[in-house]
């Protein structure tokens, strides 16, 4: 237990110590909220869909969590670069514990990031409908965060150096983000796009946040929970396997 805790703590400390990173990673969501929120808001209202900000903010929160969590997982590449990875790899403890501790830490950091973005959204006029439901939102934030930290860790475990990093961002993280319905409603999408969206785990995360923060479900919260939960279990096995295979 202490092993998981100390590695969790490491991620938290690293997060709070890099103030530049916190501020830097808030720029993008803030810009998106302002530009898209006020830019598309009028069209969205004209189309009879109601308040776009209310629709958009959960999507932006999910986006911040996706980026933060995936990058936390990918940090292993930097640990390798700076040599700290070796320290963990030859430790006389099971690598699964190490992996879980790291990922829980990464996930916690990503949830914190999501909560900060939620706070920022109050500036542009977003309001949580009901505080009890918002607790549910934190739970789903954690599921999204844990899932994508595992995902980042799985990728980083199979990479040797930082060269592949940009490739991952452009060909995996960006598509996951754009094809999740974070910006647009899922009703009436072309069939091909809808199929992709349905296979994208983040779609269920975005949907769950909309359902808990507002009241705008496309799927049901139960569906969201089962899908996210199932994928997390799958990734737990895959990531443990890949992490245990790392050679320094």
């Amino acid at each position: 237990m202490e092993i998981i805790y100390i590695l969790w703590l490491r991620q938290i400390k690293r997060y709070f110590r890099s103030k530049a990173r916190i501020i830097g990673s808030l720029g993008q969501p803030l810009l998106f909220m302002l530009a898209f929120g006020f830019g598309f808001g009028p069209i969205y209202a004209k189309a009879g869909e109601g308040n776009y900000i209310e629709f958009l903010v959960p999507g932006i929160i999910a986006m911040s969590i996706l980026f933060m969590a995936t990058f936390s997982g990918l940090e292993i590449i930097w640990d390798r670069q700076f040599g700290f990875l070796k320290e963990m790899l030859v430790a006389p403890v099971s690598r699964i514990k190490i992996m879980i501790g790291r990922c829980l830490g990464g996930a916690t950091v990503a949830v914190l990031q999501g909560l900060i973005v939620l706070g920022l959204s109050y500036i542009i006029g977003f309001r949580v409908h009901n505080f009890l439901a918002a607790l549910g939102a934190i739970f789903f934030m954690f599921l999204i965060a844990f899932l994508f930290t595992l995902f980042g860790t799985a990728i980083a475990s199979s990479l040797k150096d930082v060269q592949g990093f940009q490739l991952i961002v452009n060909f995996l993280v960006m598509p996951i983000f754009f094809l999740s319905g974070a910006f647009f409603p899922l009703d009436g999408l072309p069939k091909a796009i809808m199929t992709v969206v349905k296979f994208n785990p983040l779609s269920y995360g975005v949907d769950a946040l909309r359902g808990t923060l507002g009241n705008l479900n496309h799927f049901s919260l139960m569906t969201d929970f089962y899908v996210l939960g199932l994928i997390i279990v799958g990734f737990l096995f895959l990531t443990s396997y890949l992490f245990s295979k790392i050679e320094a």
């Binding site: 092993i3 100390i6 890099s18 320290e87 030859v90 006389p92």
Partner: protein, 261 residues
């Protein structure tokens, strides 16, 4: 025999880093792996400590196989790496604690031991500073303090004192020798400082180009080569060519390829 290596070979594609070496280390012994840069010292240590898979050969560490019984092998040793293994975003003290937890130092003993070792390497005053602000020598001292925090059966040291001044080097070797005496801890270290091998080691293995050239006590090596000091014996065994330091196996391979072109 606490370490036994039979016909160990490690190839990186075409490049042979370690070529069919065999040797044994007795429990409680201090053994030096002495060789010029790129001789295969680090590759051997990496294989013995489970971070690299051997291409072929039979290995036994504390009775376990580093390929099949990784966890048991990892419980048997401690290691000070040749290059950095610190988290630079954490303080010196936090690095020590993290290491203590990972390597199973009991919670009750931890603070006292950390203090003792940080004082020993003269970093106690700077325990709350982030490691990224440390100089090269300070980082090296912290690496060593970290490696000595738990007391394993076998201690691997990969060029432990590189870049340290002679005072610090002596100081650290006294401590390691004390641990070796009091706890019968086996010490396996690599070095290219000849006087370090001569002073600290019970036996020396001279390695070059991935092959073992000679094994024996410093005295035996001098007799064998007919030289009156270990440095001349070393040069007699390994030749006069100047070696290039190569970053790692892949780098070695690249170099090797260029060389053949």
């Amino acid at each position: 025999m606490i370490i036994s290596v039979k016909n160990l070979t490690k190839k990186f594609k075409q490049f042979v880093a370690v070529n069919d070496i065999s040797f044994e280390v007795e429990a409680g012994e201090i053994l030096a792996f002495l060789g010029p840069n790129g001789a295969g010292k680090t590759t051997t240590i990496k294989i013995l400590t489970t971070v690299l898979k051997p291409t072929s050969g039979e290995l036994s560490i504390n009775g376990y196989n580093p390929v099949g019984e990784k966890d048991k092998v990892r419980k048997s040793f401690g290691i000070v790496f040749q290059d950095a293994s610190l988290d630079e975003e954490l303080t010196a003290y936090e690095n020590m604690t993290l290491h203590g937890v990972l390597y199973g130092v009991p919670k009750k003993e931890r603070p006292a031991k950390i203090e003792q070792l940080l004082r020993f390497v003269e970093l106690w005053d700077r325990q709350k500073e982030l490691v990224k602000n440390f100089s090269g020598g300070m980082k090296r001292r912290l690496e060593i303090a970290k490696g000595l925090l738990h007391h394993p059966k076998i201690l691997f040291l990969d060029e432990p004192t590189q870049g340290l001044d002679p005072q610090t080097r002596n100081h650290i070797w006294e401590y390691i020798k004390k641990m070796n005496m009091e706890e019968k801890m086996t010490v396996f270290f690599t070095t290219h400082y000849i006087e370090e091998a001569e002073k600290a080691a019970d036996r020396v293995v001279v390695i070059d180009h991935g092959q073992i050239l000679a094994v024996g006590t410093p005295e035996e090596l001098k007799v064998k080569t007919g030289k009156d000091n270990l440095e001349d014996a070393f040069i007699a065994l390994t030749g006069n060519n100047i070696r290039e330091e190569l970053a790692d196996g892949v780098e070695q391979m690249r170099h090797h390829r260029q060389f053949r072109r």
